[in-house]
Symmetry: none
Subunit: 175 residues, 4 copies
DNA sequence: CATGAATGAGAGTTCATTCAT
DNA sequence: GATGAATGAACTCTCATTCAT
């Protein structure tokens, strides 16, 4: 979180963990493998959160809103996030790394798509193209994430964007 | 383009320019200042392109399409782009750098907003909220750009997304 | 055999022995002591071989030839030999180590000298200076050993050299 | 000379040369390349000495004796010699290195062979097989060199061996 | 006895940066 | 202006060695 991926050194990490440098090397041969592992753990965590929400019997629009609010939190405090490290990691990445990141993205798209379809059935949503809409939402989030790191993003803007995204899914008479 | 910002060294640049290291230091004290200058030049170039299109008397939807196609080209060949360097540069950046990047982004938003308004007048578009729509478009592009670097993006996906974005602007009966 | 003395580490040895590093340290405090022991064992082995040959009632020239053939085998496959390790060990060595190696060398000289004297008596050999001749033979062998490691040595050359050495011991009319 | 090849570090050399480590790396990427160069220079030096002796119109036996005395000097002070480094270097060596060392050895053999042939003509020597004899002499020298490093060698022994080698070349009535 | 986690010293290596020429 | 040799800081990585278990 503090240094991102490119700038962090094994020394930094060893010191932060209060472990010797040699000791750290017993577990990870480089920052790359280490980050990979950390990302995997984090990924597992957020999956759990998602599943919990789904099994809580909330309405689709409610769950989607919760998801977007969760994203908002991260957008407001990008420096408490591993996103910067993830991006830098991805930039150097081989195909294997790209596959890992792609999978993360597409899982999110699928879940949102699923929510939209459910909402279409309950009448909460009226979206002719759930897959494209879901992809679009995720790309906007991705765009906001990177914006948060590169130029900063205001809370107002995030809120407006969330409303805009949700608005696009609602039936016309509801707008 | 080859190394991004974090990995490139003054040595790399000096060699690529066939200049001595000491000589390079006469012009730039670090890769940071050097990249800043390169980005500024590039920015000026793309502004010119935009202005030229506007003064060519094309319809708003046509210009927007041209703009999106231009973006598509970059998305298909991210390694021939300075985006990676720009992102890495932004990640380390101080407020000054952020302001520079934000300005670039907002100029683009303004132009797109302007095009949408023009399109609303000519009847090509029917968009109740030009500013939000323009912001949304730019965020999607930003999302696709970062995706192109982190996980790769297929031409099909880009095309579908472009259609989706334009589709959102068209009058209902035109869909 | 694989790494020589300078390059081998306690880690290598522990792994090759499928023992823990800590466990290895219970027996040997360093590669030096360990090698010393291995060399001692090997030395004892080759002494036994020699003694066996002597008590087999072969003629002196026969025994000498057997000895030289044994050396030849080692010269042809220096990488299956501890010679490299021995040399590297000797290079770092204190007086104690030198004494050990010198003893090995001089024992061999004595045996060869003894064989030459026996051959002189039976008339197989005609060598006015058995001690010098024996030293000479051992030095040539030493020279070939080091050559085998440093530049390689062909079988033909070894054969020729063996013939040359034996030839120098034979009575003039036998040549 | 002090550390041999395996133990010497770039740091040692940098300090001995009163140069910074980074500075040393400007010239040599590793101790290997550095030693290679030093050996080449030394080799050139000793070639010159040899050539000078040949053109001084001394008798073959005289030149040979001078050569052997030169070798003796080195044998008496092996620690002022690069032999140890050369041996260790050779031990790790690839084919290229072996070829270099072999060439050195064979050049010496050729010169000695040449001297023996000249001596045969002048009647100073009576050696039926100059090539084998020359090889033998060089192997003995090699044997003494390695002995000097591994177990030490006394001046008396060297003298005796030199006499023995020369003796083998002289006509029978001269012995 | 044996293990293996942990430490810490030290080697290799690369560059940002300076400066005499 | 321009060069490029030189420096020195910092980082990676590997093991000899120790020690609690």
């Amino acid at each position: 979180m503090e240094r991102g991926f490119k700038d962090v050194t094994m020394k930094d990490i060893a010191e932060a963990c209060q472990i010797s440098r040699g000791g750290l090397y017993l577990y990870y041969p480089s920052t790359k493998e280490l980050l990979r592992d950390v990302l995997r753990m984090e990924s597992a965590d957020s999956d759990d959160t998602f599943q919990a929400a789904l099994s809580d019997n909330l309405t689709p629009s409610r769950i989607l809103l919760l998801f977007l609010r969760e994203q908002k939190k991260e957008l407001m405090h990008p420096e408490q996030t591993l996103n910067l490290a993830l991006y830098e990691y991805a930039f150097t990445g081989q195909e294997e790394d790209k596959a890992f990141i792609k999978k993360r993205f597409q899982q999110a798209v699928q879940i949102i798509e699923h929510l939209i379809r459910m909402g279409n059935e309950t009448g909460e949503f009226d979206c002719p193209n759930p897959h494209d809409a879901a992809t679009d939402i995720m790309l906007v989030i991705e765009g906001m994430k990177i914006s948060a790191h590169t130029m900063g993003i205001s809370e107002r803007k995030v809120d407006r964007e969330i409303r805009y995204l949700i608005g696009g899914l609602l039936p016309v008479e509801a707008e």
